[in-house]
Amino acid sequence: MLRNMGRMIVAVASGKGGTGKTSVAVNLALSIGNVQFLDCDAEEPNAHLLLHPKISREEPVYIPVPVINEGLCDYCGKCAEFCANNAIFVSADKALVFPELCYSCGGCAIVCPRKAISEEQRRIGTLKYGLADDLELVYGELEVGEPMAVPVINEVKKQQIRNSKTVILDSPPGTSCPVIETVKGSDFCVLVTEPTPFGLHDLKITVQVLKQMKIPFGVVVNRAGIGDQRVYEYCKNENIPVLLEIPYQRKIAELYSKGIPFSLEMPKWKEKFQAFFDEVRKYADK
């Protein structure tokens, strides 16, 4: 099918942490080839630990934060009043900025009647570019102690190359802003879960987010065989396709612990991931 040949953006997300997002994303990437891999878990990027890329360059990630020119400031306090994050404090003779609370909306500079506020660049992370054979990897690393991963994720996503490669986005866990930032704009979202009550509970929350965002999705059940059947029952009742099952095997867990993608050591999985990707294409097209 020719219309299927276009470049696709596939996000891999989960809700619950540690269900195997990175493992699924990496094994998929290695099995289908011709992939640009964007690791969007800027708080705890892990894909490079499985892909072992050669890092070719690094770039700092900055966000703009306000600087108050106290020579111009008359301490009217309008900036502090405006700031929804309480990142500015103004007293009778002092104006203080708490840059780590600032999320760079730019409003304080707009409301300042004396044009006393400008912006400076503050470093919050690093962007890393690497190559593992023909796979291109980009990942961001949030500086430890910095609260906001979203601007770093944003920078990672800006590196999407405009050509025929498949783009795989590896999402952080959870369901809040970093996840939204990662999955937005993708053609399909793979939800990796495990057949346990925690896996199911967090899957349900993530499904709500994806429905709200109108992104098509399907489920991969990892560690199949542990837990119970409730994840399958839920998917059946909600008409959510289960696109792949990966059984719990100690060998897979041990390979992962050593940083080895299991499809490299268990070659039949390469075909399974290829077939899985064909399914993904079909559902993304619907």
Partner: protein
Amino acid sequence: MKQLTVLSGKGGTGKTTITASLTVLSENIVVADCDVDAPDLHMLLHPEIIETQEFKGAKLAVIDESACTECGLCREKCRFNAITEDIKVDPIFCEGCGVCAIVCPTKAITLIERISGHAYISKTKHGFMAHAMLNPGEANSGKLVTLVRQNAKTLAERECSDLIIIDGSPGIGCPVIASVAGVDAGLVVTEPTLSGIHDFERALQLLKHFKVQPLVCVNMYDINEDNTEKIAGFCKENGVKVVGKIPFNSVVTEAMVNGKSIVEYAPESDVAEEIMKLWERILSNLKHGSG
């Protein structure tokens, strides 16, 4: 009163399993589930909700279409791409900063409060619990974590509890920072995988950054004993105490399926035994630690 936060960096290393067990083993504590966007602890502790609070996080911009001239200035100035091409607010991306409202020449935009989630005060068989649920896709999880911690503190003061145990979320970003700020100790639960080690080192750096005493527990240590040795070696070099080593056992999943903590479900198991030892060591560290 002391506060202990369970964190991990990497998800799925066993934070909630361990927090639930520690809660069951303890006497006179308050437990707080601070993983507000994917909370799971309630599935093991079965809290009975006594009080529900609305959580108003970020505000939401609303455009009065009758006053809007579609000039597009709001769209241009919004740094969160929350205004669509046809000049509508996308609530998923709106951070409630208010920039659109101040730049609108016809004053067509106002900010309204929105309910971003709920905080709960509950009772369990093992004491009081503070928890919350952020609405799916909402921002401001850090602020909701702070509210849960305030609730836990109020409960602990009222009940004269000695300890608050806080179950954190994965990662090291805003909700985790809100979960560790000002606590007496952070228990980092890790696993002997390369990702587990990588993320655990970043979690330790985070605790150092916020001057919180670190304690380490290696979960599923027998999945890769070489890596467990590496973790222990790293801790020794950095003067960090390893307070627990828990083996892999599928009975942990069984307990979860049955909605019970492992120390209740299989108190004779090797996992439960190790968690009991872990608990003793944590208590002695909290007693003798500074703070």
